[in-house]
């Protein structure tokens, strides 16, 4: 990247993946890179800075995606999509550098494990994937009176699509809803496919089925009885299952 100019400016984008990719397109065209890329919502300026808002252009962003697919690899695409789902404020900047390096090195990019932005993007993506994996275990459904299943959670990263994919297969004969309360979005599955909608547009009155209390209590009792008292180690329990998850884990509520 030594032939590129780093300009003393912060680029802003609208928070979407297309926004970040539009920034990438702009940088490639102008052959210059800002010293920082931040989501507009998170931008806190100072007297000396003159930030530049890069508008989202869908043609530009599609072009970048196609180029990554053709010139780099599916794995790189995976890293781009997955790290975008992170709540890490530095993701856009890392992605910008990563994609530019990726165009330079091609499919080898993901093996270049001592380039900073590669480490960063892979770390961020791994973080997102790890949270998705944890939640595939921590999500708890309630049976509603119409026999639908309903689950809700709060997460650091946007993992709803991972969860929806997972349960579309596992509970394919059920009708279920998974509510991401952090982002006000809800996945709805109808035994065929799922859609994700704004949860504020739906009436979420929950009426539990008459079996629900019975099975919930069985689960809570099971959870309590499975502990071997002589091996009790709350610190260990908390390190595997941090308290921040306990809000939606009914078995932890005694």
């Amino acid at each position: 990247m030594h032939h590129w100019t780093v300009i003393d400016c912060t680029y802003l984008y609208d928070g979407s993946l297309e926004g970040i990719l539009s920034v990438v397109y702009t940088c490639l065209k102008d052959k210059q890179i800002p010293n920082m890329v931040i989501e507009e919502e998170n931008y806190v300026g100072n007297l000396f800075e003159q930030p530049k808002m890069i508008s989202t252009n869908l043609d530009h962003s599609s072009y970048i995606l196609e180029q990554i697919q053709e010139k780099v690899s599916d794995l790189a695409l995976y890293y781009v999509y997955t790290s975008f789902l992170s709540s890490d404020k530095k993701k856009a900047n890392a992605l910008l550098h990563y994609i530019i390096y990726a165009f330079k090195y091609g499919f080898k990019i993901n093996q270049m494990k001592s380039i900073d932005c590669v480490i960063e993007v892979q770390r961020i993506a791994k973080n997102v994937k790890y949270e998705a994996h944890r939640f595939s275990g921590f999500i708890r459904f309630k049976e509603l009176e119409n026999k639908f299943l309903y689950a809700e959670y709060e997460s650091d990263n946007d993992i709803l699509t991972f969860l929806a994919d997972h349960f579309s297969d596992r509970l394919q004969q059920e009708i279920w809803m998974i509510h991401d309360k952090t982002r006000f979005q809800i996945a709805l599955y109808n035994r065929d496919e799922y859609i994700i909608v704004d949860s504020k547009t739906i009436d979420l009155t929950i009426i539990e089925s008459d079996q629900e209390d019975y099975y919930l209590q069985l689960w809570k009792d099971y959870f309590k009885n499975i502990t071997i008292k002589e091996r009790e180690n709350r610190r260990c329990q908390r390190s595997f299952m941090p308290k921040k998850y306990w809000k939606y884990l009914p078995e932890t509520k005694g």
Binding site: K108, Q111, M112, K113, S114, D116, I119, H133, R134, S136, G137, F138, I139, R140, F141, K142, E143, L149, A151, F167, D169, R170, L171, Q172, Q173, E174, Q211, Y215, L216, Q217, L218, W219, D221, Y222, F223, N225, I226, T227, I228, K229, E230, R231, E232, N233, R234, R235, C236, Q237, S239, F240, M241, L249, E251
Partner: protein, 422 residues
């Protein structure tokens, strides 16, 4: 008896079978079915003793015709006995599964009437799940000692994993503490399953496992680990579990331990990982003159200190299994190093950037010929006291009890045990 009461009794009795894995099966969902298996397993919750909960682990019944001295369910114990019906088991399992409380079922049982009769009952419960409810989640069933090949066939085609617990690590101990169980009653089914797995992909597709009780009988770590090595080699065992003895009964033949030997159990798990992923053999770690693990150090660090002529290892040239011998370099770090060095020379700085933890590794490696400090630091006494000091600190920092005992496994140990990073 109400189902809730049965569940309390029969979950309580099943918890000493420590296997918690829901991994190893590639079972897919079917057209009108519910459930699938996750190849790497999923932890749904963690109990107050820090163990992962991923399956509904229960006994069909805690009545038993045998009188094994260490077992809470032994025939001569005066405890409340209960028995599930097959339908009850299927109902609880499917409803827990729908709510995503579990990955599946772990079904064991005390022995009623005879081994085959017991196996038949397990088959009935699991049949309802597979055939009536079209359940495709994970099922682990116990092989009842003494079961016939016919029954093993029947059960093996319904489940993902089977296990039969050796429990006592030697024939003498078995005769002393579990006289009803003949050695062959345990080994013959094991062998049969191993051979049948080879012939039929759909039979016990996640393989078999076993368990050894640590500390109820006098066998050394060397004896226990040799037995485990044999299990992995000759019986294609997927996992051997080591369960620290928890005194449940009073008996002249049982030791009156104040606490279960958790640190010892931890060292065995660390050694078990070395056998399975790090290319170690038991004879590298222990022998007749050194029969038990060092409590102050993990087995890999201990090996390194006794084999200093193997080091230092050059990060840019050493092969994969040599890298794995370095204390502090685990499977993930070794793979990172192998990948990164194809593109450029690695220095201490690049290792740090790649998040290879150098705290212990630095004593044992060179980067492009350079040691991290002057060569006078490459001294086994010095390194040994540095490593022990760190380990002590870990133990003191991480124990949950006010009474700090040197001999408690740390949370970090446990995590590293599971991720394999040693």
């Amino acid at each position: 008896m109400e189902v809730a009461e049965k569940l309390k009794i029969l979950a309580d009795s099943a918890k000493y079978d420590v296997s918690c894995s829901s991994s190893g099966s590639d079972r897919k969902n079917t057209d009108k079915g519910i459930g699938n298996a996750s190849l790497c397993g999923i932890c749904h919750s963690f109990s107050a003793d820090g163990r992962c909960i991923s399956l509904l682990k229960i006994l069909m019944t805690n009545s038993c015709i045998y009188d094994c001295k260490y077992c809470i369910n032994r025939a001569s114990n005066n405890i409340q006995r209960a028995c599930f019906t097959p339908q009850e088991i299927a109902d609880i399992t499917i409803n827990f599964y729908r709510r995503n409380y579990i990955e599946g079922l772990f079904l064991s049982s005390g022995i009623i009437k005879n081994p085959d009769y017991t196996m038949e009952m397990l088959c009935e419960a699991i049949s309802i799940l597979r055939n009536k409810y079209h359940f495709n989640g994970y099922i682990h069933a116990k092989t009842i000692p003494g079961a016939s090949q016919d029954m093993i066939n029947k059960l093996g085609l319904l489940v993902d994993r089977m296990s039969i617990n050796i429990e006592l690590p030697s024939n003498q101990s078995l005769k002393l503490l579990a006289p009803n169980k003949e050695k062959d009653a345990i080994l013959e089914p094991m062998k049969y399953i191993k051979n049948t797995v080879k012939q039929d992909r759909k039979f016990v597709r996640a393989g078999q496992t076993t368990q050894l009780i640590i500390g109820a009988t006098p066998e050394s770590d060397f004896k226990i680990l040799s037995l485990a090595e044999g299990m992995y080699g000759k019986m294609n065992m997927k996992r051997v579990y080591y369960s620290a003895y928890v005194p449940l009964n009073h008996d002249d033949h049982l030791p009156a331990l104040k606490k279960p030997p958790l640190l010892r159990e931890n060292r065995l798990y660390q050694a078990d990982w070395l056998l399975r992923f790090y290319g170690f053999k038991v004879e590298d770690l222990l022998d007749d003159s050194h029969q038990n693990f060092n409590e102050l150090l993990d087995p890999k660090a201990d090996w390194a200190l006794h084999n200093m002529d193997y080091f230092p290892v050059e990060i840019n040239k050493a092969d994969y299994y040599t890298l794995l011998r370095v204390p502090g370099i685990g499977v993930l770090s070794a793979k990172k190093i192998m990948a990164a060095r194809k593109h450029h020379k690695l220095t201490f700085e690049s290792l740090k950037k790649m998040r290879v933890v150098l705290k212990r590794a630095k004593y044992f490696i060179t980067c492009d010929g350079k040691y991290f400090a002057s060569t006078s630091f490459f001294n086994s006494n010095l390194i040994s006291s540095a490593l022990i000091h760190d380990e002590r600190k870990l133990l003191i920092d991480s124990t949950d009890t006010v009474q700090l005992s040197l001999f408690e496994p740390t949370t970090k140990d446990r995590v590293e045990c599971i991720t394999g990073q040693l």
